[in-house]
Every structure is written in C-alpha cells, then in structure tokens.
Symmetry: C2
Subunit: 169 residues, 2 copies
C-alpha cells in the first residue's frame, strides 16, 4: 500500500466524498468498471448515460455520453491511470486514451477544467467504505467543481449505484 501515499488529498485542491454503503465492494467495483452497469447508475436522474466505453487498464479509454432532459449532451473522454481490482480506480480527463494530453478545449467534462478522480474501496463488515476524490489543478478548479454540485451529484449517483447493486445479487 505504499502507492496510496501518492494520493493523499489536499483540502485546498480536492473534493472528497466518503461514505459507508451496505453492499460488498466486489459489486461496487463491478458497477464502476462495466459499461452495462455504468449506464444504469452513473448519471443523477433525470440525466442518463447513453454510451459508455471502458478499456480497463492504465492508458485505456473511459468514455461516457450523458444526455439531459432537454436534449443536452456531454461527451466525457479520458483514460485510466491506475487499476487495482476491487481496491482503487484512478482516471483523468486531462489525458486521452494512450495518455496523450487532452486539448484544452472541448474534451473536458461538462465545461470543467479537468481533474483526476480516485475511487477507493475498503471492506467494512458486510459493507464498503467508499471514498471518491476529485483532484484539481488549482483552487479555482476545485471551487468550480464544488459549485457545479460535486457533493450532490456524486452523492446521488452513489445512491443510484447502491440501489442498482442490490438488484445485481
């Protein structure tokens, strides 16, 4: 676990959602890493995730298309940076698949300035400690993401994930 030293959050720059959920981490991992699951829970309703592409390895693609109730569409394209099965998933939208730097306009999700995300999972009894972190390049990036509703959005999505996982068993 020496690697997690690399990922200590910085309160000035990062947003962290931590919660204990009553589903096993193996299923939370599956929900995060398989397109058929992502499409069900990933986007807070009434938004929907209409497309999802995953190549689950460092440098591999993580792409989603989100569609809003009025027909809005956001394309999110990024790549995985670290994949530790059932334990930690790291990805960013500041690099394209194959680690190419993303163009500074266009590909960053929902108009945000780009971030790196970490989902870390730990078994806790029958459930899972779930820690999602968004790391930004500067304080403005963190603030913008917070004002766009990071806690509400990631929280609602997690509710949907848990509800979905309960149908998987």
């Amino acid at each position: 676990m020496t690697r997690s030293r690399l990922l200590r959050p910085d309160p000035k720059l990062d947003l962290v959602l931590e919660r204990v959920v009553d589903v096993p981490r193996e299923l939370v991992w599956d929900a995060w890493t398989k397109p058929e699951h992502i499409k069900v829970w990933f986007t807070p309703r009434p938004w929907r995730t209409t497309e999802c592409e995953i190549d689950l390895r460092p440098g591999g693609i993580f792409r989603t298309v989100m569609r809003g109730p009025a027909g809005e569409e956001f394309n999110n394209l990024g790549c995985y940076l670290e994949v530790v099965p059932q334990e930690r998933l790291v990805w960013t939208d500041t690099l394209l698949p194959g680690w190419r730097p993303a163009a500074s306009t266009g590909s960053q999700s929902c108009g945000l300035s780009g971030f790196t995300a970490v989902v870390a999972l730990e078994t806790l009894g029958q459930g899972t400690r779930y820690i999602a972190t968004a790391m930004h390049r500067d304080e403005a990036g963190r603030r913008q993401h917070e004002e766009m509703g990071f806690y509400d959005g990631w929280g609602k999505a997690l509710d949907q994930l848990v509800a979905h996982v309960k149908t998987m068993r």
Copy 2:
C-alpha cells in the same frame, strides 16, 4: 504487448526520434531511470542537469532542473505513467506526482505546452533500437516543440547518453 497499441504515434501530433545505438538496452534503461546517470547526459551541453528526482512507478515523480550557460534555469516536474523495466518508460509533465493535473502555467518544461513522452527500447544484436516519442495535445504543440529543436536536442542528448553508457561498462 497488447499495450503498445495504445501508443501508436500520430504524425500530425507527435515527434519521433528513432535510432539504433551500439549499447545494450539494460544500460540505456539504467541511464534513463537513475538520477546519477540522468545528471550526466540528460541536457545537451553547455546546459547541465543540476538536480534530478525519480520515483520509478506510475504516479511517481520525475523532476529535473536544467541550468544554462548564462544562468537560466528550467524546472521540469512530471510523473511516470507506465514503467515496463528495460522496455518502455512513459511520463508526462501535464500531471504532477500522484497524477494531479498540473497548473496550466509554470510547471510545463521550458515554456512548452505540455506533452507525454515515451522511450521504447528493443534489443537488436549487441545494440538497442531506441524510439523516443513526444505526444502533443495539438498540432501547434508539436510544431512549437519541433521549432524549439526537438530533433537536435533529443539527438544530442542521446549521443551523450551513449557516450556515458560506454563509461559504465
């Protein structure tokens, strides 16, 4: 070797220096991954590499300080993305150690707009096929890097690497 599919160069966006050198790839790998070697060969003379810090794992730091003959100083800070010993080294200055997106000003090397670099090594008889690739976010980034002297700079540095490696045996 499926992973190398991720790294197919795009001639519009990438710069590639490929050469066969008459030193074994184990030593080329050491020259690229140990600070005491980097300090000797990394910067085309009369520039010098006065500091080097390496944490050789994905997300780990790769930092150098280059000093010019008139006292100019460039700080380069980035992180490794993939480390396949003696075969392939991938890093970027668009992410800081721990994969945090780099601030858009300041940390990018020598005023460049940020790139991902790949050094790939193959054994060829007693020598090594050496392929260095710089991947940019757009054509302007590639052009800027080329005009700054990518081929000359990386070529001279490789000459210095080979000369240094020959003293290591």
